[in-house]
Point group: C2
Chain length 383, copies 2
């Protein structure tokens, strides 16, 4: 398997882009990545997207974007794994380049979510869950996560306020990220006073949707001259039952455990060597569960990392260094590629006030559904 490296990255600010279409926002990120890579063409395009068939009435985003971007004639395809679609597209692109069948690929994560009413988007997002056995009960996607959070608080004795550091850290970091949607600090008081969505998840436990697109150009490592060279040291994916109630332990992200362990092995690293971890904080409870499953905290103790101030860019386990899903925003099918792009920015040392000093190894973890599809990637700066 050939070693693959990231040649260029691009992203747009996550926002309500009323004046821009799906193709325009995706194109903007793609053009930025091609420009950053210094190329105007690639062999193949891999698009990560979740809800455009429902919300935008558009399928076949591979050909759709190849056409718009000017990659006409090139191979192009869409990959979907709910909110894990971005990283799933990245992994599909990696396989194609690693196999030797293509010499370069553009991976684009894109989602245009704000063209429909909130209830329509909520219904679209619910397609990540099990339609027959979860949605049939009338539970929404946030509702499923609320059940998990409530159980976690009960089992391990945590209170709602103990989750605050995750959201406070994310918002504090987003202030310095021009591509983030919510660039404002929040306090513990504000966190606790925020409107309830599905008990115990309130507005500041939950990530905002948005229109977003992020992209990267990948090529065989030996073709990258730019310093530092950003290598993809590991790529691993795993699944769990799609319905949370089918799991032996609904408070353990088995697929995060499996994919992270495989990634550590591929990259030859241990969790303590990871300089930053862009985790999938769609809800604050997910941040805690990811930290535990990936070996950064004991079972039931993920929230302690926030309380002990270990998750800031200066901490032992920096997470959400550009705002995370919580404050950078969560344009579902694009999120996985934002994580990859942000790690590249950190490894290049381009993150200013939220720069993790001397960052050499970064890990991204993208989650589809309530832990059903989980992809873990480890990037390493060389030179």
């Amino acid at each position: 398997m050939r070693q693959v490296a990231i040649l260029g990255i691009g992203q747009i600010k996550i926002d309500e882009h009323w004046e821009r279409s799906l193709r325009e926002i995706g194109g903007d990120a793609a053009f930025a990545a091609l420009k950053d890579a210094g190329v105007d063409k690639v062999d193949a395009l891999f698009v990560g997207n979740m809800i455009s068939p429902i919300v935008n009435g558009q399928n076949q985003l591979g050909a759709f974007f190849a056409d718009w971007i000017g990659l006409w004639k090139q191979e192009a395809v869409k990959i979907e794994a709910a909110c894990g679609s971005g990283a799933a597209a990245f992994r599909a692109g990696l396989m194609a380049v690693a196999s030797g069948d293509v010499e370069s690929a553009l991976v684009l994560g894109v989602e245009k979510m704000t063209d429909k009413a909130g209830r329509d988007v909520t219904a679209a997002l619910a397609t990540a869950a099990d339609a027959d056995y979860e949605l049939e009960q009338g539970v929404s996607f946030v509702g499923i996560n609320a059940l998990v959070m409530r159980r976690y608080m009960h089992e391990f004795g945590w209170k709602h306020e103990h989750f605050a550091p995750f959201s406070i850290n994310a918002h504090a970091n987003a202030v310095h990220n021009p591509f983030a949607r919510l660039r404002e600090r929040i306090t513990l008081e504000k966190f606790e006073r925020s409107a309830m969505i599905a008990t115990p998840i309130n507005l500041l436990d939950a990530s905002p949707i948005g229109d977003g697109a992020a992209a990267a150009v990948i090529v065989p490592a030996e073709q990258v001259m730019r310093q530092p060279r950003i290598l993809v040291s590991a790529s691993a994916a795993a699944t769990d039952t799609i319905a949370v109630h089918s799991r032996r332990d609904p408070l353990f992200l088995q697929a995060a455990y499996d994919s992270s362990r495989r990634a550590y092995q591929m990259a030859g690293v241990t969790p303590d060597q990871i300089d930053l971890f862009e985790l999938h904080d769609a809800f604050s409870i997910m941040a805690a569960l990811s930290l535990e499953a990936c070996g950064f905290a004991e079972r039931g103790q993920g929230v302690r990392l926030g309380l002990d101030d270990e998750i800031s860019p200066q901490g032992r386990v920096p997470v959400c260094t550009r705002g995370g899903l919580k404050a950078r925003g969560h344009p579902v099918g694009a999120t996985g590629m934002y994580q990859i792009v942000e790690i590249v920015q950190q490894l290049r040392g381009e993150c200013g006030k939220t720069q993790v000093e001397g960052a050499k190894i970064g890990m991204a973890q993208n989650i589809g559904g309530s832990g059903a599809t989980i992809l873990t990637h480890i990037l390493r700066a060389e030179g």
Copy 2:
């Protein structure tokens, strides 16, 4: 790049499976493929599907089916390229095995289309076209193909009846395929008297939808002991503009030309060495255009192969040997995998009355949209 081979295949009869759910029909094909392969587990699952987010309210079919099939914990993802989703999933699986990152994969094409009213399905299928520039004009997917067919008849002087042999051949072959939806012969009279859908496309020019699922297990070639060994000699994908009106020549399938030429080169064959060609006859006009773009007929002369009786299993260029999209049926995201499965059946010599004598090399071509995404695969029997 490692050579990949097909270890096992499975499929279900295409029909209106009112009593079976999406997961059940997909599971049936997957279990059949695993059984045929003689394995009960694979490293990864690749699912091809187009409209389940819209029609079934279900996304994340990778984890969804991994869970149902008992591949829990394994990597799983969905690939979508409109009606080309099946072959796109097959190609993604190939890349993963070829790269060396996984040792075995199950590729499943599945579509459950008949749970919604016809108008809802028509709307769902329209997402394959350009929502902003084609659908906005009020044209349906069959309407776009009707415009192409009318133009073709005008340019090259053919009449509607000249397309009849494609449908007559497809129906004649489907009679002998227990998995086909329409197992009945048709005549030229019936073809000409059939109800008009979108002039000049009538009911017998158009393929029927249906609930269907087809699957294959793929592994590195050296792991296959079974004779004959079915090698994947070539896999190629290409795109064209998503909107037909943007093409310089709307009567030429550029992406079929590009992907077939790349496939011929990879496999080291010329069109006259192809023993059978499972083409994408979603509409009779598409059969003609595919034959022309892939080098089996001159421009504007694709229909002549039917008129000259060259497309039957005994002909020079056998097409739709198991019924094709027209009579086997077209469960959109599953179709590409039906084509692969049917070629394996031919190369194994299991096709009875529609067996292509001594078939050693078969080609499958799966099309997304009106020629926007086209994938060509060449399979070869060895031993």
